[in-house]
């Protein structure tokens, strides 16, 4: 077993695969409000992302064990799935936001303290390394169930790595 396989087996996405695909670049670049990026590569019995999607962009599952498949044309970047997913595996990445070197990531957050809008946070990659500073634009609680969705402005070249934020003490 290679190091890369072991890394994946410990819960770190190492390459794109079914259930963890990226949107088509051309559409992504121009889609206001962003597109969903899901990182759910394992077939498990779980479907709230699809059943809660208001536009049907996350295609209804044939089998509850399916990994999510997405019709990106329909995705409006609403981040309902970000709040709903019990595995915290849904993110929205908006490449149209801000300056040319910026992008917006909407990610799930269930820790304390909750980030404050307008402050700077550490942006963490998939193994928890602080790879950039981000600015908190909004913090919402779409389902009023204590899972927050943090909208954070990040350096555009880090948008494929940043999957969590940490409040700076």
């Amino acid at each position: 077993m290679t190091e890369k396989e072991l890394l994946f087996n410990s819960g770190v996405l190492t390459e794109r695969c079914p259930g963890a695909e990226l949107p088509p670049r051309e559409l992504w670049e121009k889609k206001k409000n962003g597109l969903v990026v899901i990182e759910c590569p394992q077939r498990i019995p779980c479907n709230p992302c699809a059943s809660s999607c208001p536009t049907g962009a996350i295609r209804p599952f044939k089998d509850i064990n399916d990994t999510p498949a997405i019709d990106y044309e329909k995705c409006i970047g609403c981040a309902k799935c970000v709040a709903q997913c019990p595995g915290l595996a849904c993110f929205v990445v908006d490449l149209t936001y801000g300056e040319a070197d910026e992008a917006l990531v909407k990610l799930p957050f269930e820790m304390l303290p909750v980030p404050v809008e307008g402050t700077s946070v550490d942006c963490l990659n998939r193994v928890g390394e602080a790879v950039a500073k981000g600015k908190v634009l909004h913090v919402t609680e779409p389902l009023r169930d204590k899972t927050r969705v943090v909208h954070v402005v990040v350096p555009r070249d880090r948008v494929m790595d940043i999957r969590a934020v940490r409040v700076v003490k």
Binding site: G11, R43, C46, P48, S51, I64, G87, R126, V127, G128
Partner: protein, 371 residues
Amino acid sequence: MRETEVLVIGGGPAGLSAAVEAASHGCDVTLVDSDLALGGQLVKQTHKFFGSEAEYAGTRGIKIAKILFEELEAAKDRVTVLSNTTANGFYPDDGVVALVKDEEEYIRLRPKKTIVATGAMERLLPFPNNDAPGVYGAGAIQTLMNVYGVFPGERVLMIGAGNIGLIVSYQLMQAGVEIAGIVEFMPKVGGYWVHAAKVRRLGVPIYLRHTITDAIVEKGVVAGAHIQRVDEKGRPTEEIRKIDCDTICMAVGLIPTAEILWQAGCKMTYVPELCGHVPQRNAFMQTTNPNFWVAGDASGIEEASAAMVEGRISGISIARALGRIQGEAFQERYLELWQRLSNLRAGEVGAKIRSGLEKCSNCGCDWGEEA
């Protein structure tokens, strides 16, 4: 001597579901639970459940407990709840279950039918100093933290990367506890990949192919641990690492709690996939003792979502056995429940469960046929 139509032993997800299902079809139910309050492990589960909407997916365990309590409240005319009550034994000669309530009152209860939903016990690992203060099972950590609000330690080493080890690590972090790492003997996490990803992105190392060798004890309490890498065949290597921690949490599996089933003379089978001795059962979750049904982890270790559906199946099947529901009304509900259960078990992660069930189910896989 007290009497009841249906006795449900255990007020966790399976037992609560069984009680409300049986009561909803008109059965008189007595629900006993050894804990101070009902809910079993649900009340400690602050994370959102997987599954489908019918199984409360996306809802936190603690909220699911509240939903079931509301159903129970709505059925209160038919359900007697005895909490802080342990079912200590079953006496086949007169069909009496001996209960001890509040650690002082002895109650003899004779049920017509019994559902055993006693859940599971934790497995523990043998290693030097595993009896030192600071070594816990994951259930104890969750009880301290999520039920009583007690901070279990400053820095925890988790042993086991199954769903419990991964989820409890995440819960500890939510409570402000640092996770020194998660140790897993196998070359991959046993729990859902997404649960592992959740803690990895917060900086928690997962040591695959590692095992704990001993707890380091200073001044009588845990001050660290040694972990050791194992090779492809599981043999220890020379690579040993010292981990700083004040708490060691074991999440290395569960064993079905089956004593009452043994006492009831149910035919028991050792099924490794279901993590211990489990009763033979038919498609109604009825054991080989025709007055005993089983549901949840007592019938084999599985997820709480499956336990709730099994509880419903045993509840409606008992209602049928007592003549409270029959014909199409039964068939429709029963088949719907089995469909939900089969869906939960259909995928790759359900393969182990399916293989285990083949060894203890005394009818074919086409469950609907027998109804």
